[in-house]
Every structure is written in C-alpha cells, then in structure tokens.
C-alpha cells in the first residue's frame, strides 16, 4: 500500500480548495488602498489619499509642521461631518476627493474599496465622537504684496507642502508625473504679469473657482498667509 497517497491527496485538495487564501482584516486592506493611487479609476491619476492626508489617531486634525493640504484623518470617522460640515457622510467626503482630485468614479457604499477604506478610517478613529473640523476657504485672493516672506522658511514649506507633487522648484525634478507644473517657470510663462497672484490663487483655490486641474487647495487652517508669503519669497516671486 502506498502510504504517501493521502498526503499528496491532502495537499492537492488544499490547493484546489484554495488553501492559500488568507483572511485579512478589511482595515489592513484599506490601509493599502489609502496609499494606492489605483483607488482611482482614472489612468491619469497619481494621487493616493496619503498624498494629502495623514491618518494618525494620536495627532490633531492639522499636524504642526506637515503642511498637508488635507486634514489628518486620524479620528475622522466620528466627526459627524466633513469638508467644513458640507458632507454629512464619510463616504461622500471620500468621494469628493476621488472625483475632484483623483479623477475617478465615486465609490458605492457596498463595494470592497469603500468598505475597506471605511474600515481603515474607522480603525484609525478610536476616539469615538469628535468635533467637525472647520475649513476656512480664502475666497477673495490677493497677491499678498504687503506681506514679506522669508526664503528659508519658504524652502521648508516647499519641501513639506509642494515638493511631493511639483518636485524641485524651477526644474520640476522628481515631480509626480508630468501634470504638476514646474513652479514658478510655467506660471511665469502663462501669466507673466501676475504670476505671484496666480500662485497664491492656486494655493488658496486649487482646482476650484473655475480654475481647473486637480490640485487641492490650502485652507487657512493648514497654511497661513505668512507661510504663503514665505513660499513666494523662496520662489522669487
């Protein structure tokens, strides 16, 4: 009698039955999606959620020194409203990013990507209920002409806020694909007479207010006017 037969049979049965399938917590899969530009259905998208957001439950909504355009999503699931109280469902808030910045279709609540991302945000929200975070949009943009900036601080601000998408100033080296502009050269070429104001406008309005593109905007909570002035000084505008 061949006593090896049952062992082989067992292993084959395992393979056929998919013995390699592995249970993975949805939150773990959601964490990967959080960092994956493939969350968007757009072939042109290079952003992931992590491009603009941290997800640190131990940190406040605006993490000092990081200069993310989006708020820290740690403890975000219990905020009760998002996007300055204009979204009343967490998935709607996620979908606003997906459609406005990442160019993809919106997720339905019952699809895996939505459930996993939701599970990740839920897992990073141990605090239960938390307050909505204000979102102050600078509506009327000026060139901040009277506000002198500091080049050294501006360099630091560039590295924290801008470099991840625009790469190095003047050359664009290391930028996120070819869509982000080379700053300030592209701006100066398109707007030779008011490049300074246009850069402020892009920072404050991003893609909104009929500007277009996919750039997020920086609210007053995440970037002060002085920090904008520092950036302008660093860029020589």
């Amino acid at each position: 009698m061949n006593r090896g037969g049952p062992a082989i049979g067992f292993l084959l049965a395992c393979l056929i039955a998919g013995c390699g399938d592995r249970d993975v917590p949805a939150a773990e899969l959601g964490e990967r999606r959080f960092a994956d530009p493939g969350l968007s259905t757009s072939p042109f998208n290079r952003f992931s959620c992590a491009t603009c957001h941290a997800a640190d439950a131990a940190a406040p909504p605006v993490i000092p020194g990081r200069l993310d355009s989006g708020y820290n999503l740690g403890n975000s699931a219990g905020r009760g409203s998002w996007w300055g109280t204009y979204e009343l469902r967490l998935l709607d808030a996620v979908n606003t990013c997906l459609s406005d910045f990442m160019g993809g279709r919106k997720l339905a609540p019952d699809e895996d990507a939505a459930r996993q991302l939701g599970a990740f945000l839920d897992a990073r929200s141990p605090a239960g209920r938390s307050d909505p975070v204000p979102l102050s949009v600078v509506r009327i943009v000026t060139s901040l002409q009277g506000l002198p900036g500091d080049q050294a601080r501006g360099k630091q601000a560039w590295e924290r806020a801008c470099a991840r998408c625009h790469g190095a100033p003047h050359t664009g080296a290391g930028r996120l694909g070819i869509r982000p502009t080379v700053v300030p050269e592209d701006t100066l070429r398109s707007f030779p007479n008011n490049a300074r104001a246009v850069v402020v406008e892009k920072i404050r309005h991003g893609r909104y207010f009929n500007i277009g593109g996919v750039m997020p905007f920086y609210s007053l909570e995440v970037m002060t006017d002085l920090q904008v002035a520092d950036l302008l000084a660093y860029l020589g505008l």
Binding site: N2, L12, C19, G20, E87, I140
Partner: protein, 431 residues
Amino acid sequence: MKGCRTGSSASESNCMRPWLLCVPVLAAAASAGCGGDEVPVYGPGPFRRDPVAPGPLGGKILTSNSFDDTLSVVDPDAPGAVGRIPVGFSPVELEGPHHLSVDPAGRFVYVNLSLAVKGSGSGPHGVHGSGELPGYVLKLNTSDGREVARARVDSNPGDSTLAPDGKTLYVSHYDVVAWSRAAAAGDLHMGDSFLIALDTERMVVTARVALCPAAHGVRLSADGHTLFATCGPDQIAVVDVRDPTLPVRRVQLPGTTEGANCARCPYALSVAPDGTVWVSSLGPSGGTNGRGGIDVYDPAQDGGGGFDAKRTLNLRGSPVFAAFAPGAGNFRVLVPEQGKAGDFVQVLDPARPGEPPKIQATIALSPQDCLLAHMLLVSADGTRAHLVCEGDHTGPGSVVWLDLRTQSTLGSRPVGVFPDGLALVPNLVKR
C-alpha cells in the same frame, strides 16, 4: 530508487519513494499562497458613525439659504432645533440655493442653484459668482434630503413654481446682467430672460421661452392654466401654459413705461384665493430706499386681464412675497415689508375692485427676531404664519412664528445665511 522494495522493513524508512518528491513542492506551493486570494474580514459597518440623515422631511418647513449652500429644516409646530441639509456640487464654493418648490405629493423638493453668489470667490484667473454660469435645479428626495437628479437651466435661476400635478416645474431667471447689457445696446428685448419648463420625472427641459428681462417671482393660477411672473422693467408676464408654445403677454404696471431702469421694480407676486395676482414691487433702484408697493392684477378684468390702477397701495418700505389667510367673508393679505424703518408684516383687507387695499394691522418685528422679512407661509387654518427673514447676509437669518389671532410674534429661530425661500413639505408620503 533502485533497490527499494516494498515491505523491506530494514530499509523502508530510508528508502526514497517517488511521491516524497512531490510533498515539498506541493507544500511550498500551498504555503506560498498557491494563487489564492486575500479574503477581507469585515467588522461592524465602516460608516456606522455617520450622523443620522436629515429626514423624512414631511410636515417640515424648509428654507433655502443662499449664502451658505444649505437648506434649514424647521418644525412648524415647535420653535426647536433646526436641521441642516448642505446642497450643491462643491463643498468649497458657494453656489447659491435660491428658492425652492415642493412636490404636492411631498416626495421631492426642487431647489434652484444660482451659481451666482456675489463676492463668493475670485482670483486672477478664476472667478465665481458673476452670474454668467448656467444654473441648475436640484431634485432632492424628502426621505433623506439627498439629491436624486439635476437639470441645467439658464444663468441666475430666480424663482420656481410647480404645476398642480407636480409634473412640470417652471423656473424664472433673474438675469439683471443681460438686462443691463441689452439696455446699453439699446434693445431691451435682447435682455429677455427665459422661462424654462422642466419635466420633473426625467428632469429635462421641455420648453424654453423668452419671457422678459430680469423675471423673478413666478406663480401659477389655482387651475394651473396661467403663469404669472414679475419682470424687471415694471411689468408682469402672463403665460398660457396650456398652449405648448407658451405664448407670453406682458402687462405694464399702472403708471409706468418699459425702460432700461425700473420705477417700481416688481420682484415678487402671489395668487390670491379669488384669482387676483398681488404684485410686490421693491421701489426705485431695486428698493434701496424703500417706497415700494402693491399692485393688483385681475385676470378677469375687461375680459382679458389687467391692473386695477385704483388698487395700488404704496408703502414706506419694500414688500416681498405675500401670503393669504382666511378672513371673515373674504381673505386677508399678509405682506412682509422690509426697509430702513424696520421690518413688518402688513395685514391687508383686499377691499373690492376699484378700491385700494386697506391696512388692517401692522405687525412690527423686532430686529432680534427678524431682519429683512422676505416670505410668509400661513397655516391652513389661518391662525399662524411662518416668516423667513434674510438677516444681515453675513450671519444667520431667521424663521419667525407669528400668531395671526393676536397679531404677535411667538418666537424665532436662527437658520442659515441669507435665507430667501420658504416651503412646507406636505406630510403625505407613506414610508
């Protein structure tokens, strides 16, 4: 394998068997995942901490808040907590919900989105709020306040009104920019705004007809056959909506002539229980200094309809959207009036043809309760009214509860910023 024999007890444990070669291969394949998948393990609903959706909205009063992109939800029976429904496409830009209409069956709310909020955002190459963009009408479900459909209309959608069967929504467009341009070009009719008819089931435009410059207040006769709209150059437009071509007739307000500017500046109108149309005019220069008034159009006059010049009532301030309450043998007209002297609700006896309406009472509103009274709703039994007040356009506006028996204020609650529309959602939907 040579020399290995089954049953050879001495050597069996050491003897290589062919199948043994397969074991590590299969085991490695199995442990490597063998092409298997990661299986997500879901816990409790990931979005379970979302707030409870606002709604159902049956039996509630809604205001459209044009400077903060929300609707406020108010319980007409109790001046308690006020709910809030954000509307619009973008949480970043102000898009100006401007007036709303409610389906007679209580299932849907239609909100004009003007995309023209003055001063809401500008920069060197991006502007917003110039009133040059097309507007939209949003269709919201009253079960949870969520948008279910939208339709694109012209720039600056102003007011709207629904056919009695709820199947057609008529939208006016308060396009003063086009009126100014046409006046500068010397051809006022180039500045005509359009009346749009929307099929509310499919949310598509079924008709679009030139109405008049800067049309605003729009209402239908009780039978739904005739539409009335205010027009910038001191006129109303009268439209036979039974005719698919929507023929328009313009009727000048008494004592005025068509021009590039307005003398009375009609802005709002309401249809009374007797079929007469009460036209509220803000006064010269859009009511900047008051001196507006009421004119009464009678569709039956002279067989074809006309204004009864003797029924004009001039006011100190600017009257806005009137409402009607049952009265002894007749009805009463309740007119919100805003102006430098304060805010009031004028209670009018409509009087008879050939006589001016008479002011029966004036309900003075305290500035704490109401700043810039705008629109009224009267309860079915005529004992109470709800008034929406614009506020100072930077902070909250308000809804005021009025007791019409004692002609006094019962209370008020703050709502969103610059509310300008008010509607009661019928509580008819069985859920």
